[in-house]
């Protein structure tokens, strides 16, 4: 596939979405540290790949199976900022789970955001199943599933990709390689050079990209989607960046890595890189940037306020929805 050219408009939209994800995440930490919300698990350092990948999908047709860091992905697929805060506050109106799940456990059927759980990698066979169903029904769509690099060591990764490979399913598996699984560094997780090298064992296409390079990620996903829709089977994409925050608000990352390492990575933060590129390409101006920031801040403020005031789940609903209506 030829190199995709993104319009200025498209680039700005992508950047704004990345920035929005970052700013939401930063607000979450503030709310957590001030005791307003009990838990945060961050997207920081992975917004670029998340938004760029999502932008290469069809948000009106494709199914996504995001993992807990994928704020950028779910925002792109239509989850509103208000809804994001509703889940952070675990309020009754939270469309993901009505406050039943921890923050970062996404799911919203109307936007084809498939409900996820905490045990990692279970979503990978689900993605294969959705792709299988779409193929059976002759639908022109793909399933797009993400996971951390540590999660690629679970059996379900292997079984899911192998199934998808054998049945040449329209699925895209994107590994967000942020170099850590909580405290365990990459070299204690895997001995292979590249996670993408695992593709060959499933007879599928594998590609590694710089996850801080928005256009490279966009291109890789665009091509993977084309391949999928052409009946050429699934793709394994490894997008490499770095987790800029501790694993979660319960973690102290200074027990296993150094401030120097984190600072160095912050200096090559993909979001900043993309900003600088857009500025130097003349696509983003200081003025536009300020506008963006203001708009984002306002949206976040409103959403926070709304979520904070929204009613909690009623304990009387504890027993609801264990089963659906009778099956006959």
């Amino acid at each position: 596939m030829d190199k995709v050219i993104l319009s200025n408009e498209e680039q700005l939209e992508m950047y704004e979405e990345m920035l929005l994800a970052r700013r939401i995440d930063e607000r979450m930490w503030l709310l957590n540290r001030s005791g307003n919300i009990p838990f945060v698990v961050s997207c920081q350092g992975q917004e670029v790949m998340q938004v760029a990948a999502s932008a290469a999908l069809d948000k009106n047709a494709d199914y996504i199976l995001p993992y807990y860091r994928d704020l950028g992905v779910v925002l792109h697929f239509g989850m509103t900022v208000k809804e994001v805060f509703l889940q952070a506050y675990a309020k009754a109106e939270d469309p993901n789970s009505g406050g039943r799940q921890m923050p970062g456990h996404f799911g919203q059927k109307k936007n084809r955001i498939v409900t996820g759980s905490s045990p990692v990698t279970t979503q990978v066979p689900h993605a294969a199943g959705i792709a299988l169903a779409a193929k059976m029904e002759g639908k022109s769509l793909v399933s797009f599933v993400t996971m951390g690099e540590g999660s690629t060591n679970q059996g379900d990764f292997h079984e899911g990709l192998n199934f998808a490979g054998v049945h040449k399913l329209p699925a895209i598996f994107m590994v967000e390689n942020n170099k850590y699984a909580i405290s365990v560094p990459l070299h204690k997780q895997v001995a292979c050079e590249n996670i993408a090298d695992r593709a060959i064992g499933y007879g599928i296409h594998g590609v590694k990209v710089d996850g801080n390079d928005a256009h490279a990620v966009y291109q890789a996903v665009k091509e993977a989607r084309e391949r999928a829709l052409n009946g050429d089977g699934p793709t394994l994409i490894e997008a490499v960046s770095y987790r800029l925050t501790p694993h979660s608000s319960d973690d102290d990352d200074m027990t296993y890595r150094t401030k120097e390492e984190v600072d160095q990575q912050k200096s090559i933060d993909g979001l900043l890189q993309y900003r600088d590129k857009l500025i130097s390409d003349g696509i983003l101006t200081q003025e536009k940037e300020k506008e963006m920031e203001e708009k984002i801040k306002q949206v976040i403020n409103e959403a926070t306020e709304y979520a904070e005031k929204a009613p909690s789940a009623d304990p009387g609903t504890l027993g609801d929805y264990v089963y659906g209506k009778e099956g006959q």
Partner: protein, 327 residues
């Protein structure tokens, strides 16, 4: 009405459901041209083609997990575990995923998958082709566990399972496959999940059991009738969640309760049945609740003398009923 054996009734249910609803498909190991190692999917590949009768790679977590994904999309997958013993790699998908999808999404998503698995012993299967695995799954709200005892029931319950809005673990006794035969209607019928069934009326002793043990209990009851001992037999049919009302009623009726399972005793389904009775109708009892089960050893051994010693049969049940009647 034709006389079918247990597995023919299963095949018929699958075929009819696949004809009725284009969203129903089957997946599993050897379910395609081979028609399943027990031939439960016999003829389906020929009739419906490989798109709806999928031979999968040898990977149970994927069989369940892919099925779950397809079910969330809106299909009606029927996944086969070749032997119930081999469901273990899929436990995470079944318990963490299938059972919790509706609840965790606050009713936004659902997972109408049926997972079929042949369980049980007495077939020279040794430790890993004989197990009763229901207890592992009988503490998971969101999941239903169905264990039919006869050809008629298996057809009606399998149809209900496939049409159910939620995940159903459907356990078929592999020795029943060719042992049990009865008339099975050709027309469409379903049997409600969650309802136990009185398989025999009686006044002296109540037997509560499920699966192949229902057959053995019937044999024992017939024999004991000649001695003047009258046995009520309640077939649980769905072992999770249990039909409490039927259990309480059956137990209260005679006041003498024998609970039977082919599984190891401790931690089996019948422990919960005993608990329900002792909670709800303790004062209706005229004798301690008696449990008849396999010994607490890891699984049924292969060698015939050991298998026989482990396996439930009509004689063991007859003895236990008699003892209770004489209490």
């Amino acid at each position: 009405m034709a006389v079918l054996n247990y597995i023919q009734a299963i095949t018929q249910a699958l075929k009819e459901e696949m004809e009725r609803d284009g969203k129903v498909f089957v997946l599993g190991e050897d379910v395609g041209p081979r028609g399943g190692v027990f031939r439960a999917t016999d003829g389906l590949y020929e009739q419906f083609g490989e798109a709806r009768v999928l031979d999968t790679p040898l990977a149970e977590s994927a069989i369940a997990g892919v099925g779950i994904g397809a079910a969330m999309y809106g299909m009606r997958p029927v996944a086969e575990m070749q032997f119930a013993d081999f469901i273990m790699p899929a436990v995470n998908q079944i318990i963490s995923e299938a059972a919790k999808i509706r609840y965790r999404s606050n009713n936004d998503w659902s997972c109408p998958i049926t997972i079929r698995a042949p369980y049980g012993g007495g077939v020279h299967g040794g430790l890993y082709h004989s197990q009763s695995i229901e207890a592992i799954f009988a503490n998971q709200p969101g999941l239903k566990v169905v264990m039919p005892s006869s050809p008629y029931d298996v057809k009606g319950l399998l149809k209900s399972s496939i049409r159910d809005e939620d995940p159903v673990l459907f356990l078929e006794h592999k020795r029943a496959y060719r042992l049990l035969k009865e008339e099975v209607p050709e027309e469409d019928y379903t049997i409600p999940i969650g309802k136990a069934s009185v398989k025999r009326e009686g006044n002296d002793v109540t037997v509560i059991t499920y699966g192949l043990c229902v057959h053995f209990a019937k044999q024992a009851a017939e024999k004991l009738e000649q001695e003047g001992i009258s046995t009520e037999i309640l077939d649980l049919r769905t072992v999770y969640p249990l039909d409490q009302e039927a259990i309480i009623q059956a137990a209260s009726k005679t006041g003498k309760v024998l609970l039977i399972t082919e599984d190891n005793k401790e931690g089996s389904i019948i422990g919960e049945v005993a608990a329900i009775i002792s909670e709800h109708c303790l004062f209706d009892l005229d004798a301690p609740i008696k449990r008849l089960a396999a010994p607490d050893v890891p699984a049924m051994p292969f060698a015939s003398p050991l298998e026989k010693a482990f396996m439930m049969n009509a004689d063991k049940i007859e003895g236990a009923i008699r003892e209770l009647a004489e209490f």
